[in-house]
């Protein structure tokens, strides 16, 4: 049985006013386990309880009921944070520090010795692609750059569990892809990743399992592949053929013979992200204008 990294038992969070009157149940009796080495995604619309769950796991909020355990230790225990790396939704870092100072500061909070700290900071700055901007203070950074340095600070302690709150927020498609690749790379290194995101395609691309929350309640939990699989439909892919009516007719006949019905027939589409990345890669390889406006003839 795989090692359990995160576990919640009936985890509940109720927000109350000054007089103790109930305002809102942000999370209701959440039971969840995340195993070592998996990428787990929390999905849900705004106010569904995703961020509340993360905050409860990190001890930023205190549970109203139930409990949360990380590496088998209660969430209130500070020691558990030794093995956690956390990237908040917005990169809430001190903007008067530069990248080097930022990583040095967070490295000190982990009580990392000076030599190790310096080496790791340099490596991370390089990994997140900020080597040329490491002396600039963070207030001069773009949102994407801040997200990158935010991720670097989350990895300064070489954590076993990485918690990412909206990791691709503010990143351009290139950055998004870089982030997703990095998450997959972390998984390869044996890290456990818990992430929540609004961007469903991102979650689908990288997550092994997901939990869908709505109104503080857990609505769905399982393997991404299984959950998105449409058991009522069948997909056939083929290469070396051209679209024509004959082929369509023959295929429809075969499908009907087996009791089915042909719904769609045509070329599959790629994702917009793939298209964008392909164009950028090609432009890098061959600089210069690529798009040519259609001729009058073509317009007609």
């Amino acid at each position: 049985m795989a090692e359990i990294v995160v576990e919640t038992r009936g985890l509940t969070k109720v927000y109350r006013d000054f007089w103790g009157r109930k305002k809102k149940t942000a999370l209701n009796a959440l039971d969840l386990t995340i195993e070592k080495g998996e990428i787990f995604g929390l999905l849900g619309p705004n106010g569904s309880g995703k961020t509340t769950t993360i905050k409860l796991l990190l001890g930023l909020l205190f549970p109203s009921g139930g409990d949360a355990f990380v590496f088998g230790q209660p969430a209130a225990k500070v020691e558990k944070n030794e093995k956690i790396g956390y990237l908040p939704e917005e990169s809430y870092l001190y903007r008067f520090l530069n990248a080097e100072e930022t990583l040095d500061f967070y490295g000190r909070l982990f009580d990392i010795p000076s030599a190790v700290r310096e080496k790791r900071a340099a490596e991370l700055i390089d990994t997140v692609g900020l080597s040329n901007d490491k002396k600039r203070v963070l207030r001069e950074y773009s949102k994407g750059m801040r997200q990158r340095i935010g991720l670097a600070q989350a990895l300064i302690n070489d954590p076993d569990l990485v918690i990412l709150d909206e990791p691709t927020s503010g990143l351009d498609p290139l950055g998004t892809r870089w982030m997703k690749d990095l998450i997959l790379d972390l998984k390869k290194k044996g890290k456990t990743i818990l992430m929540c995101s609004h961007r469903l395609d991102d979650v689908q691309d990288v997550c092994d399992r997901i939990a869908i929350l709505y109104g503080g309640d857990l609505q769905e939990l399982g393997q991404v592949n299984k959950l998105v699989e449409d058991q009522k439909r069948l997909e056939i892919r083929a290469t070396g053929l051209q679209l024509n009516d004959g082929l369509k007719h023959d295929l429809a006949a075969v499908i009907e013979k087996h009791g089915g019905k042909l719904e769609a027939f045509g070329h599959p589409t790629t994702t917009l992200e793939d298209l964008f990345l392909r164009i950028v890669d090609e432009s890098k390889a061959r600089p210069g204008r690529r798009y040519l406006p259609p001729t009058e003839e073509a317009k007609k």
């Binding site: 909020l61 908040p88 967070y106």
Partner: protein, 675 residues
């Protein structure tokens, strides 16, 4: 006689001898607050549902030690309550501050009392502190220097990069320009005094204001801007955040103060614009040796006369040639350097208050007799009116009188003392002369020296010079228990005049230190005040918003400047009564001394005012003793700031900040930073 300033002490400077009393009072005060906190904490922890999350139990632990100490504390408080109601083992008020019981409003350092009530109350407080402080003490071992220092460094960088401190330091430089440019109509000798006053005031404002602003706003801002998320999700003890911020701002104010002090010192030391008189008066650092005062006369119950002045700090002795009233200063220990053979005199400086019963002689002061004896030359008051004080050993007195008379005779005949010898030993003046050597030898042999008459003026400093031989005699052998080594007896000779004295009014000059050392010591006082303010602000900011923390800290700090008035209200001694009685007088346009008619109204007002007084007493307990950290008077009058006083005040600082640290520990620990 060189000119020098007057250091008027309105209170006894604290000394190590006050430490046991201070600790007892601290245990009562801090322990009392701890007991209330403990009660709330335990009620919350124990009466919450038993199926609390593991995290909650970790956050609000209740250990067996806590419970045990809480029970013992409760027993102590119950015992105190029983004794209080039964009137057993009183004297509680004596320990707190004798000012409460006495008519005097001046602060009197607390004394250790071993009576049942104060001891039980202190024990109750001690056990309450041991109980509530247990999780705090346990978590202190988890603190790591690297983490705390990282947060401290961050705080310093943040304040420096915000340029807030820089602006204030630049503003401060304005105050270093010669004071006479701004205040031209002052006496030249006051120039350094005024400069010190102005720079002390400016430093206080320009140091404390930015310090309190950064301290009050940073933690709330971290929470508001959510930067705290990236800190508390690291293996950081929450108290490390508070401690780191506190240490950071303390470092910051140390840097700023160090800079200000250095610039100020360079200006004062190398500035050539000062009047020489000012330099002579203020750029000194006299080291006084202070004794304990007592008043004695023929009657056993004499303790000085109260002349009815509003401020009761001084007591008075009546003047007459035959009076038996004496003010005594007793010195229990005598440093070796006073009796050194290298020196030819020991100055004894004094400043007395004259209360005139008759007009006296115009342009003339009051004549005073000063007798200085060692423990080997005991003195006793006469049994009958009009007789002089005598030696306890009459034979020895006769020997002294004979030897002295013989020497005077020889001096008169010029047989000794050389050609410039004075006609009598009474006229011998300190210096390398034969006559003074004889005085010194006589003092060393008998442990006795007397100045038959010297003139003093109202609040005008004066000096008499004592032979060092006297102190060599005092240091020989061991005096009986309770006997001082040296006693100075002061007698007022002028009829119809009364001489007012307090403990700080007379002292022996032990030596002189450098002005530089004193100047930097003075900066420590300001540093202590700034640290207090930062400590309060940081603690409050763990729970309150920035603005509220700022206002609350300033309110608490500024109210310390009204400590005397607070004490009056707290002890029910304010003229015109408590808040409600005063309000009634305002409405009725009554004078403060008009008696209020007996009746239900008066009874209601009395009850309400007593309640107010109780609340004020509690409030007084949390107000910092700012006065104890204001040492500019010592500096500007050219008196050394005693190292003992400095160390003791640093201990007081720690004692004051410790309960605040405990409070901040619980506040930050139980705060949901993401709520």
């Amino acid at each position: 006689m060189s000119l020098f300033g007057i250091l008027i002490l309105d209170r006894e400077p604290l000394a190590f001898q006050h430490l046991p009393g201070l600790i007892q009072v601290w245990l009562q005060d801090a322990g009392g607050f701890a007991a209330v906190g403990l009660l709330i904490y335990l009620a919350h922890a124990l009466f919450s549902p038993s199926d609390q999350p593991e995290s909650t139990k970790l956050r609000m632990p209740v250990t067996s030690w806590m419970l045990l100490m809480a029970v013992v504390s409760l027993i102590c408080y119950a015992a105190f309550a029983a004794m209080f109601i039964g009137g057993i083992g009183k004297e509680l008020v004596e320990v707190r501050s004798q000012a409460i019981a006495a008519e005097a409003t001046a602060y009197v350092p607390p004394k250790l009392s071993l009576r049942a009530q104060p001891v039980t109350l202190a024990l109750g407080g001690l056990f309450a502190l041991l109980s509530i402080g247990h999780p705090f003490a346990r978590d202190l071992f988890k603190l790591r220097f690297r983490r705390t220092f990282a947060i401290a460094k961050l705080s310093v960088k943040e304040a420096i990069r915000d340029r807030l401190f820089l602006v204030f330091v630049i503003f401060l430089m304005i105050f270093l320009f010669p004071v006479k440019w701004f205040l031209p109509n002052n006496k030249p000798e006051d120039e350094i005094r005024l400069t010190l006053d102005v720079t002390a005031f400016a430093s206080t404002i320009f140091l404390l204001v930015p310090a309190v602003i950064v301290a009050a706003f940073r933690i709330p801002n971290d929470i508001k801007h959510q930067t705290i998320y990236t800190i508390v999700t690291k293996p950081v003890e929450r108290f490390e955040i508070v401690l780191g911020r506190f240490v950071g701002y303390s470092i910051l104010i140390s840097i700023a103060l160090g800079l200000m002090t250095l610039v100020g010192w360079v200006y004062l030391t190398f500035g050539t614009t000062f009047d020489p008189k000012a330099v002579e008066e203020s750029q000194r650092s006299r080291v006084p040796l202070r004794g304990k005062i007592d008043f004695r006369a023929r009657t056993a119950d004499y303790s000085g006369t109260n002349v009815g002045r509003e401020f009761e700090y001084r007591k008075y002795i009546a003047g007459s040639k035959t009076t038996t009233e004496r003010a005594l200063w007793m010195f229990d220990s005598i440093p070796a350097n006073l009796g050194s053979t290298d020196r030819d005199q020991v100055p004894c400086e004094f400043t007395f208050d004259i209360f005139k019963l008759t007009k006296g002689e115009e342009n003339r002061g009051v004549d005073v007799n000063i007798r200085v004896t060692t423990w080997q030359c005991g003195q006793r008051p006469p049994d009958n009116r009009g007789e002089p004080w005598a030696w306890t050993d009459a034979t020895r007195q006769k020997e002294y009188d004979k030897e002295r008379n013989d020497l005077d005779e020889k001096l008169r005949k010029r047989e000794i003392g050389g050609p410039d010898a004075p006609p009598s030993l009474a006229f011998a003046r300190p210096g390398p002369n034969e006559a003074w050597k004889l005085v010194d030898q006589l003092a060393e042999k008998y442990g006795f020296f007397e100045i038959s008459s010297t003139e003093v003026y109202d609040f005008h400093p004066a000096t008499v010079y004592l032979p060092p031989g006297l102190f060599r005699n005092a240091r020989t052998g061991t005096p009986p228990a309770g006997e001082p080594r040296v006693t100075v007896y002061v007698k007022c000779l002028s009829p119809g005049q009364m001489l007012g004295m307090a403990q700080g009014d007379l002292y022996l000059m032990e030596g002189e230190k450098t002005f530089t050392e004193n100047y930097f010591k003075n900066a420590v006082g300001l540093w202590c005040r700034a640290v207090i303010l930062v400590g309060i602000s940081v603690t409050l900011s763990t729970y309150l918003s920035g603005v509220i923390s700022l206002l609350a800290s300033l309110f608490l700090y500024i109210s310390a400047y009204f400590a005397e008035h607070l004490r009056d209200v707290a002890t029910g001694q304010s003229v015109g009564g408590g808040p409600l009685e005063s309000f009634k007088r305002l409405l009725n346009a009554d004078t403060p001394t008009t008696p209020i008619d007996e009746g239900a109204t008066k009874r209601s007002i009395d009850i309400a005012d007593r309640t107010f007084a109780w609340v004020f007493r509690r409030y007084e307990n949390i107000v910092p003793n700012i006065d104890a950290f204001t040492w500019t008077n010592y500096l500007k009058e050219g008196f050394n700031i005693n190292a003992e006083y400095l160390v003791l005040n640093l201990l007081i600082l720690i004692g004051y900040l410790l309960p605040w640290a405990l409070l901040s520990y619980y506040l930050i620990r139980n705060r949901e930073v993401a709520a």
